[in-house]
Symmetry: C2
Subunit: 167 residues, 2 copies
């Protein structure tokens, strides 16, 4: 992040996240709880190439959006976690989901989480961010019912329906 084009907030955000893959990686770690390289690569809906994934992980760690730690009890397993910085991207990702859902040809199965988060409003986002803090930063649990679990349940319910409704 040496040569910056300008100090405009929107531009700077674009310089950090304005490519086709960085936010995909963050999305999968955040909403899919995919914390390991192979999982991020192979369970990716979009099919990210391993060299690109490696590059993005390195870059996001360097930018302070992810941290890389060794998995305890497994010498070569690397575990990626979100930083506070990345967790604060939740409202941005929600807005991206909201806009995409309104204006682009989304599939219902993949849009359900976006819809729930959008409808939940800022309070739900804050709960979800707190949950991410316990999962990724080791913050104490709040004891509230899990937002992630609700999102996942809705997703699976729709994935089940889909067998009957789409070929």
């Amino acid at each position: 992040m040496a040569d910056l084009r300008s100090g405009c907030p929107i531009n700077l955000t674009l310089e950090v996240l304005g490519d086709r893959w960085s936010l995909i990686v963050i999305r999968d770690i955040m909403f899919g709880d995919r914390r390991h390289f192979r999982v991020l690569q192979r369970q990716s809906e979009e099919g990210i190439a391993s060299n690109v994934l490696a590059d993005r992980l390195k870059r996001l760690v360097a930018l302070g959006l992810l941290t890389r730690t060794d998995e305890p009890g497994h010498k070569q397993k690397a575990r990626y976690s979100l930083t506070e910085r990345a967790i604060q991207l939740v409202p941005l990702l929600v807005q991206m989901g909201a806009w995409g859902r309104r204006h682009l040809p989304v599939t219902p199965r993949l849009a359900i989480r976006a819809r729930l988060l959008e409808e939940g409003g800022p309070e739900l986002w804050a709960d979800f961010m707190d949950e991410l803090r316990t999962a990724h930063l080791g913050a104490p649990a709040t004891g509230k019912p899990s937002v992630a679990a609700r999102l996942q349940a809705a997703y699976e319910a729709l994935a089940g329906q889909e067998i009957g409704t789409r070929p």
Copy 2:
């Protein structure tokens, strides 16, 4: 937009806007009221190349985010306007500005608009969107005090201060 990687709302938004220049162009049209090619190119803070600008304008028109019309009374002048789709990007751009302002090395002069919009909240965004509708879609004016003017005034006030405060 033929071959899509997946139907996830975030991914689709990224496929449309996930590059280093598309949102810069929209930002300049939206907040800087730059509606012509040469102005977009030469008054760009970030220095966009003319071929990239041409490509992005074409692409954004094709995607339904901009419209291109001939300027009345000037045969070769083209005027770019935001569509409703693009106007609905306001909340997303506000979130991008908010995140960038918190986490990246912004310059105060360029961050002031982001700050005002962020602090104004959804009501201010809605007013601003209505204003964009009158400016770009020919919607009737609301008669409310102009948000764009307030943003511009704040920007200029800070640009004035800056002469004394930064070399």
